[in-house]
């Protein structure tokens, strides 16, 4: 079953928050919606959760004209006056499911989530990670077909966040649920999903796999949002680009604004290629584990990129090359 968002627009107080969103979400998959704060991510999830209605457009699925996703919120939002058990079973109790069924489903879901020993506790007696597991259990006990996650792990520390992301993948395959995961951390999106939609200023700019996104952002907005790149301004004439550090042939993107795109990873090398880049002095190196982030300077311009460790020395000058034809946005 596929979910379809067709020409979704959301206008509130004269502000156009979502603009013609078209998106197909395959069932039993995880789709990450990645975008900066204020780009309309939560507004979009609210529409999928039927918390809000779009100004125009529709959200349907192949088997259900009015699908509704169950949401896991960023701030957990566990009811503070209820125990973990009461929180988790809230939806079932409201739907008047039989007590025995509720008991059985509670036992199962708390076991899967690893929170069986917490059922009698109150939310303020739990850690951040435990609270998020309870929030996830509260949604999953309803056996939703579509689970919506609104930056659910943004307040957790790095290790716990990675643990929870792995856990979400396990949950997805175990329960055959479709997950729409919203985040503004690209690493979170890359870890979780093979299909990422970039939402900037209310529009979906690009839907790609992580590798494709990094190597070939569709426009300068996406490239700048993804970060981890240098943008060198210059002049475009025909297929050539002229700047303080580089003059030569380039690949031009749609409506180029005159910015040479040099991502930190997989673009600059010391090995000779057919695309000579620049001759520059190494001014700084930062160890990042498997690579070093090298900063080089030529005249007044500095450029950073990743290299194999100990390949260059600070103070020495080198000729650098582009791995492939550079791109200008």
């Amino acid at each position: 079953m596929t979910y379809f968002l067709k020409k979704i627009n959301q206008v509130k107080k004269d502000k156009h928050i979502l603009k013609n969103i078209d998106l197909a979400i395959e069932s039993n998959s995880i789709v990450a919606i990645l975008g900066p704060s204020g780009s309309g991510k939560t507004t979009l999830l609210n529409i999928l959760a039927k918390i809000d209605q779009p100004s125009s457009g529709e959200f349907t699925s192949e088997s259900d004209q009015n699908p509704k996703g169950i949401m896991v919120f960023q701030e957990y939002l566990l009811f503070p006056h209820m125990t973990v058990a009461k929180n988790i079973t809230f939806g079932l109790r409201m739907s008047k499911v039989k007590r025995d069924d509720i008991k059985e489903r509670l036992a199962k879901i708390t076991e899967v989530m690893g929170i069986s020993d917490l059922v009698d506790r109150y939310p303020d007696e739990l850690s951040g990670g435990q609270r998020q597991r309870v929030a996830l259990a509260r949604a999953m006990i309803l056996r939703p077909k579509l689970l919506l996650m609104d930056e659910p792990f943004s307040s957790l520390d790095e290790n716990l966040r990675i643990e929870m992301l792995n856990f979400v993948q396990q949950i997805q395959s175990q329960f055959d649920v479709t997950i729409v995961f919203v985040t503004h951390y690209k690493n979170e999106a890359y870890l979780l999903s093979k299909r990422i939609a970039i939402l900037i200023d209310g529009s979906i700019k690009q839907i790609s796999e992580p590798e494709q996104l990094e190597s070939d952002p569709i426009d300068i907005e996406v490239a700048k949002f993804l970060g981890q790149a240098n943008f060198i301004s210059g002049k475009v004439t025909g297929n050539t680009f002229d700047s303080l550090i580089y003059r030569g042939e380039v690949e031009l993107k749609n409506n180029p604004q005159g910015y040479l795109y040099i991502p930190y990873a997989n673009q600059v090398t010391l090995e000779k290629t057919e695309y000579p880049a620049f001759f520059a002095e190494v001014v700084n190196k930062v160890w990042l584990g498997s690579v070093e982030r090298v900063t080089v300077r030529m005249d007044s311009v500095t450029v950073s990129f990743d290299c194999r460790p100990n390949l260059v020395k600070i103070g020495d000058q080198y000729s650098f090359y582009f791995d492939k034809k550079p791109v200008v946005y």
Binding site: E75, F90, M94, Y122
Partner: protein, 291 residues
């Protein structure tokens, strides 16, 4: 240590005032209610006056009437106040002019409201006269008796006028701290609007609501001037009954009056304590962490 000393020194004037005036009066009332009244050479402690009060049928029936009246007035104020507070909050009017207007009656003295009601709702008041001018009534006698009536309607209107705004102000403080997304979560998990109110919103405000109810009830149960001015003298309420006893001039009855006073006070305190215990036990009584 210095900090503690400062706190003691700063609170000393209040403590002295409290001990001198409140506790001494309470102590005097207590010993007098047990028959210790040296002015009349009565120095023997006895339960006699309590037994006499509790076996007095008119006292018991007046107490029951006052209790019911106080509970109903306080309950109505809480329900109406809660509905208005939630409506104002949901429509984001909790800081605007509408909210400020609802706050106004809290500041007005009871006597102002009593006189205003006389001017408006007595049979010679403004409202019946307007109705006559509009042709809706033929004479002022047709206007229902709302003041000094059998059902204490005038008293209830006065209390509601003062207490509904008090409930609104009390609840608004809690509602402003409450994350309104809890209601969104409940709806998303499949609850309907009533279930969301009953299971999520109400428990989160119930402690503030119970506190407002206790304050309203205690005031209604012990208030003298409003029932005296607007109540029905044939169906008097307890404070009026006790005060009439006190001023009738028979000082041998003072221990009995004091025992009535003590019963009224102890009942109020016990009732409040029971409500607080119930509030702790029901959903919302145990809340920790962020709301």
């Amino acid at each position: 240590m210095t900090n503690r000393k400062n706190i003691i020194l700063l609170s000393l004037p209040f403590c002295l005032f409290f001990l001198l005036f409140f506790l001494s009066a309470l102590f005097k009332s207590l010993i007098t209610s047990f028959g210790y009244y040296p002015v009349l050479n009565m120095k023997k402690f006895t339960w006699e006056y309590y037994i006499s009060a509790l076996s007095d049928a008119s006292f018991l029936s007046i107490s029951w009437r006052t209790f019911l009246f106080s509970v109903v007035s306080a309950f109505l104020a809480c329900i109406i106040g809660m509905m208005i507070a939630i409506t104002l909050y949901r429509h984001k009017k909790d800081r605007g002019i509408v909210f400020r207007i609802t706050e106004l009656p809290v500041m007005l003295p009871h006597i102002f409201v009593v006189i205003a009601l006389f001017q408006l709702l007595s049979q010679t008041g403004v409202v019946p006269n307007i109705l006559i001018h509009l042709g809706l009534l033929q004479s002022t006698e047709q206007f229902p008796l709302l003041l000094n009536d059998n059902y204490q309607i005038g008293v209830i209107i006065t209390y509601l006028y003062k207490e509904i705004p008090f409930v609104i102000v009390s609840l608004m403080l809690v509602l402003r701290q409450m994350n309104d997304k809890y209601e969104v979560v409940a709806l998303n998990l499949g609850a309907n609007k009533f279930q969301t109110f009953w299971n999520v919103t109400l428990p989160m405000i119930q402690t503030a609501l119970v506190n407002a109810f206790i304050i309203n009830f205690s005031f209604n149960f012990g208030s003298y001037e409003v029932p005296f001015l607007l109540g029905n003298q044939q169906k008097e309420l307890l404070p009026v009954y006790i005060y009439n006893y006190y001023v009738q001039g028979d000082i041998t009855q003072i221990p009995l009056v004091m025992s009535l006073n003590m019963i009224l006070s102890v009942f109020s305190i016990v009732f409040a304590a029971v409500l607080l215990v119930i509030s702790k036990k029901i959903p919302g009584g145990r809340i920790g962490g962020n709301r």
